[in-house]
């Protein structure tokens, strides 16, 4: 991740947000004008008070009731007209924010799928999901409540000040100076509150992690009788969180009440100066009263700020994290004017290929190998030998750091994604299934396949009886991540999915998890059918797979150290022979 956007100031992050999510800035000016206009309602009351007091109640000719009624009715009509303006401005704000955020969320989602981090750093997936779920949600929460409040509050302060200017500039200037002094104090104090909120967030993260552990680790806690130790630990972090939250609440209370004190002081100054000097400035009693009412309008926006500061911070942090993702360059891009591969089996060639992850040493050193069209290759080696990286390069899930991978003499980097995915299918170790039916999961390999085609695929792989044993056959729902099926059964469905996609080159990472022997037989036979009549590269974890291959590539320390048929290698006394002996001992 680049550190660049992490350092963006809040305003810079906000500007970028408006660039990345155009609907947010569309019509923004009109919206703000409407908000300002709508906020004018607040001003009607002080103005009407001033006018009714000055002109009707204090009319030297006695109280002018008819005039007061007339003036009051005009004010009422204006207020109800303002209802529509206010509603329109609120809705425009929320619509722009929600539409912009939805676009931003989809944009981030698409971008993440184009990056390799999702499958290279799989442990970070949970964190990355937050970029399209909780981060936009925190921005939305702020926009719906605090953001709208802040816009309206700012409009309210500006309007109040503008009206003050009209009533009497001398007094208005004094109020402005007061507001300015308070604003400086507020900004300083707000930083303290911000730090307190940061503390709270840290404590929350800590207590969530501890509670999460206690709950998901419950069977272990029970098995080892560690209930009271666990509860003590949870209590300790929760009490820490309580102290941080209470402290922040206290700071907020102080800041919140300071707005009242400030308003009180300003009111006192207004009365003092107004009474002493107002007459000289030609100020009427009504005008001074209007000032007192206007000063109360300055309190609420400050208090809104206190209430929404935490939200604003979370939202700004969310914006920065999203921008970090969007700033990440796509590491394996779809070529412009790419080549479409011919519809036939092609040789796969690695020439001088090296690979390293951005953070580490070389995982593969100088790999050169040619896989003939139609051959069955088994790739073996210990964990960390580079065999998984090898197959990821062959499918262009990653691009080599140096050297080139070619399919039928065309560099993979030149082949269009569509053509490449037509030609090469990779079946990962974990057969990942989506939370839908068996049929839909198989169709993922060939969108638009008919039920009959899917059924036929199961039959062709000799899995018809397995399918028939399921409660709803093809329409059986597999549950979240395929949880209703066993690991081996998920692998079966993944194999059918690859079969129906009908690639020329099949790349298979054999599952390591222990499965029922009966299922093991099914898997083996399905894989056999699947690899017939096509080129296949299998990362083998089982002896029988290596035995059945045309050629075995043995990886060790990021290099191909041996290659040849199973029989030749098994007797050679090398790396493969050692692996072989290991297998023999475990299957007895």
């Amino acid at each position: 991740m680049t550190a660049r956007s992490q350092e963006l100031t809040t305003t810079a992050a906000l500007r970028r947000l408006l660039v990345e999510a155009p609907p947010m800035r569309r019509g923004l000016i009109v919206t703000l004008l409407l908000a300002a206009l709508g906020t004018g309602t607040q001003i009607i009351v002080p103005v009407v008070v001033q006018q009714i007091v000055d002109y009707e109640l204090l009319d030297p000719a006695g109280v002018d009731v008819a005039g007061a009624v007339r003036r009051g009715l005009v004010a009422l009509v204006m207020m109800f007209a303002a209802v529509f303006v206010r509603r329109a401005s609120l809705l425009r704000l929320v619509t722009a924010a929600s539409t912009g955020l939805s676009e931003l969320r989809v944009k981030t989602f698409r971008h993440l799928h184009q990056l390799s981090i999702l499958h290279v750093e799989s442990e970070r997936r949970g964190v990355l999901v937050a970029r399209v779920t909780s981060d936009p949600a925190s921005i939305q929460d702020f926009m719906d409540w605090g953001g709208v409040g802040m816009v309206i509050g700012a409009a309210q302060v500006l309007l109040a000040m503008a009206v003050m200017l009209i009533y009497g500039w001398q007094l208005a200037v004094m109020v402005f100076v007061g507001v300015l002094i308070y604003a400086v104090l507020l900004a300083w104090f707000q930083r303290i509150l911000q730090r307190a909120h940061d503390q709270v967030r840290l404590r929350i993260a800590e207590s969530l992690a501890t509670m999460g552990e206690a709950i998901s680790g419950l069977p272990v806690v029970r098995a080892y009788g560690a209930e009271s130790a666990t509860l003590d630990k949870v209590e300790a972090v929760l009490e820490e969180q309580f102290r941080a939250e209470f402290k922040t609440g206290r700071l907020g209370a102080f800041l919140f009440s300071s707005a009242e004190l400030f308003a009180g002081l300003i009111t006192a100054v207004v009365i003092l100066v107004g009474v002493v000097a107002g007459g000289g400035w030609g100020m009427s009693a009504g005008t001074l009263l209007a000032f007192l009412f206007l000063v109360t309008l300055l309190v609420e926006p400050v208090q809104t700020l206190v209430e929404t500061l935490d939200q604003a911070q979370s939202a700004a942090a969310g914006v920065r994290r999203i921008l970090n993702v969007l700033d990440e360059a796509i590491d394996v891009p779809d070529p412009v004017d790419g080549v479409v591969l011919p519809d036939e089996r092609l040789d796969l060639e690695f020439e001088g290929v090296r690979f390293r992850y951005p953070t580490g040493d070389d995982v593969l050193h100088d790999i050169s190998v040619r896989v003939r069209a139609g051959s069955r290759i088994a790739v073996v080696g210990e964990t960390g030998s580079g065999k998984s990286t090898f197959v990821k390069l062959a499918t262009r899930l990653l691009d080599p750091t140096a050297g080139e991978v070619r399919l039928g003499d065309v560099p993979l980097t030149r082949v269009t994604f569509d053509s490449l995915r037509d030609h090469v299918i990779f079946v990962p170790q974990e057969g990942f299934l989506f939370d839908t039916t068996i049929a839909d999961n198989v169709r993922y390999g060939k969108p638009g396949a008919t039920a009959a085609e899917v059924q036929a695929a199961f039959e062709q792989l000799e899995l018809g009886d397995w399918l028939a044993g399921l409660p709803d056959g093809l329409r059986t729902r597999v549950g979240e991540r395929g949880g209703q099926l066993s690991a081996g059964e998920r692998q079966l469905v993944a194999l059918v999915r690859a079969w129906i996609a009908d690639p020329e080159l099949l790349i298979l990472d054999e599952a390591t998890s222990a499965v029922d022997p009966a299922l093991e037989v099914r898997l083996r036979r399905a894989i056999e059918h699947l690899t017939e009549h096509r080129t296949s590269i299998t990362v083998a974890h089982r002896l029988s797979t290596a035995e059945a291959s045309d050629e075995v590539l043995v990886f060790d320390g990021g290099r191909i150290v041996e290659r040849g048929s199973h029989h030749d290698l098994a007797d050679s006394g090398g790396v493969y022979a050692a692996l072989h002996a290991d297998w023999m001992s475990s299957t007895g």
Binding site: M211, L218, R222, F254
Partner: protein
């Protein structure tokens, strides 16, 4: 994802009734902080009324005489200023007291609710626990416990606001009953509209929550399957799927805000209108000589001050509905979670393996499906026994019962002739150690994970790690035993996690060690070494392992062969091979397949 809508109150009336009951519960749990907070709110309310009087008084006795009639301000000025500043300080003090005490009330209730939940969960039957989704339990302790207590933030304010409203109306009655009646009627209708609006928005908001869950579900699933998505080139399809979920959420958010902002602007306009209405009525009353202009200013000022307090009533209804939904989910755990019952037997810690026996043991999950039935077994002290059987035979269930993680539906399991259910809460872990396939490690050091609640010495930890085949990789970790493992131990590989988990069991020197496929991710040769080590070490343990590899099974003294919830064979490997056809079938599945393939190949 949980389905929160089912726990939300279904009608406004119901929400109000239950809401007040919930509030009552919270107040009883924190009477002092509530009293302080409500006191602060009342103080604030009184200050507002006082402020209005001060402004009215200042108008009549200072502003009008000086600016309108040209009277000298001598002697009038400073008392007025002092009153204004004094009232503001009074208000600030009220706010500080209210918010501070309300913060205590809310955060304390949240902390207590969470501790209560975790305490309850730690004591529940695992059988109940396994029927729940861990994600749901987490979201109840995290989100629902927080939301249930949200109501406590505006509650004292609302109490104060109610007092303020009453105070205002009483005060206006004193000034002029006609104006008071107009005010009372207007404020009453405003509150009614506000409550109705809050409730409608809340109902719509439930839907937004559901759709948020939906977006997050699609996101999680798609990212978890990222490799498959990419391998099949389906990024565009996934993006469209996510876009559909995202846009549905967007539309619903806009809908909610349409309802919400409509009510909001209407209520705000009504509040302003009341001030004007009072002025109009006041003009009549002034002419009639019933009130002074100063009185009228007091009333109008007071009404503008009511602007925020009166809205709090609407917020309380919103928060109350929210809190109720959360609180019901919290309560559901307290009510449904079945607690484990313990006996009084202490652990004896004999230095020998335990004798394990099962008598007519049966187990079901409550449905029709029988998981275990009529299981009879005796395992002599110190023996190593392998449990073998096809998927779904009940292997994991059986060993889970042996560790008393669950209880049998009928029949009993004994350790040295003592029923497992008669042991005291802390006694059984001293006798039995259970190692699951899924090696759950905690965010702690390696040594901390192995000790986990015991005070084992470093020598004991070393020995346990050595037996578990973990020494070599632990030595290579940056800080050895002191290395922090991170959340769920993700910095280790699956096989390494399993070995640490095994060491955690061994360090307790259990009299019965149960391993449920606990070395599945360990390389076969290493696994064999570990199992041989366990067999040869002078452990005071009886060992029961659920195993899938032939090499592991052959290391056991005896094998229990399970099929469809019954023990169909119990004896040495050789005996079972000879007497139990199903057993032979399982172990020979590879060979059968190899033979079949050879036959097919030989046919022309």
């Amino acid at each position: 994802m949980s389905v929160p809508s089912s726990t939300a109150p279904s009608g406004l009336r119901e929400a109000l009734r239950e809401g007040f009951r919930l509030i009552g519960t919270f107040i009883r749990n924190g009477p002092v902080s509530y009293a302080l907070a409500a006191g602060g709110a009342a103080l604030f309310a009184a200050a507002i009324v006082a402020a209005a009087f001060v402004i009215g008084d200042v108008t009549d006795s200072l502003i009008l005489p000086v600016l309108d009639e040209g009277v000298s301000s001598e002697g009038l000025l400073w008392p007025a200023i002092a009153a204004v500043v004094g009232v503001a300080t009074w208000k600030a003090a009220g706010i500080t007291l209210r918010r501070t005490a309300a913060g205590w009330l809310q955060f304390r209730a949240q902390t207590d609710a969470r501790i209560g939940l975790i305490d309850r969960l730690l004591r529940t039957e695992l059988r109940w626990y396994h029927r729940q989704s861990v994600g749901d339990l987490l979201s109840v302790t995290e989100t629902d416990a927080r939301e249930a207590t949200f109501i406590l933030a505006p509650l004292p304010y609302a109490t104060g606001a109610t007092l303020l409203l009453i105070g205002t109306v009483v005060m206006i009655f004193v000034l002029d009953p006609i104006i008071a009646l107009v005010t009372l009627g207007s404020l009453g209708s405003i509150i009614a509209v506000d409550i109705r609006g809050s409730w409608s928005s809340f109902e719509a908001f439930q839907d937004v929550q559901r759709l948020r869950g939906n977006v997050s579900q699609v996101g999680h699933e798609s990212f978890d399957g990222a490799l498959t998505v990419k391998a099949l080139g389906r990024e565009a399809v996934e993006t469209r799927r996510f876009e559909a979920a995202s846009e549905e959420l967007r539309d619903r958010i806009i809908d909610v805000n349409r309802v919400f902002s409509t009510y909001r602007v209407i209520v705000e306009a009504m509040l302003s209108a009341v001030a004007v209405l009072v002025l109009i009525v006041g003009a009549f009353r002034t002419r009639a000589g019933a009130v002074t202009p100063g009185d009228l200013v007091t009333v109008a000022y007071l009404l503008t001050l009511l602007f925020i307090p009166i809205r709090i009533v609407g917020f309380v209804v919103w928060d109350m509905s929210h809190a109720l939904a959360g609180w019901r989910r919290v309560q559901r755990i307290h009510e449904s979670a079945e607690l484990v019952a313990y006996g009084g037997l202490d652990h004896r810690g004999d230095p020998t393996g335990a004798e394990v026996a099962g008598e007519a043991v049966a187990f079901t999950y409550g449905g029709d499906e029988v998981i275990l039935d009529g299981v009879e077994l005796i395992i002599p002290p110190g023996q190593v026994v392998a449990v073998v059987g096809p998927t779904g035979a009940g292997k994991t269930t059986l060993v889970t019962l042996l560790a008393r993680l669950w209880d049998p539906t009928s029949g009993q399991i004994t350790l040295d002739g003592r029923d497992l259910r008669d042991f005291a809460r802390s006694a059984l872990p001293g006798e039995v150690a259970f190692v699951a396939q899924d090696a759950f490690l905690f965010d702690d050091s390696v040594a901390g994970n192995i000790r986990f609640g015991t005070d084992a010495s470093q020598t004991d930890v070393d020995q346990a790690a050595a037996l578990a085949g973990a020494t070599s990789f632990i030595d290579e970790l940056p800080d050895g035993y002191g290395t922090q493992l991170g959340e769920r131990g993700t910095s280790l590989s699956g096989g390494q996690r399993q070995r640490v988990a095994l060491a955690r069991a061994l360090v307790r020197r259990p009299r019965l060690l149960i391993m449920d496929d606990a070395t599945s991710a360990v390389d076969p040769s290493v696994e064999t070494q570990i199992l041989k080590g366990l067999r040869d070490a002078e452990l005071p343990s009886t060992v029961v392992i659920v195993a899938y590899r032939r090499s592991s099974i052959m290391l056991a003294d005896e094998v229990i062969f399970l099929d469809e919830g019954r023990i169909v064979g119990h004896g040495t490997h050789a005996e079972l091979m000879a007497t139990t056809p199903g057993y032979a079938q399982i172990l020979e599945a590879y060979e059968v397949d190899a033979v079949r393939r050879a036959e097919e190949n030989s046919q022309p």
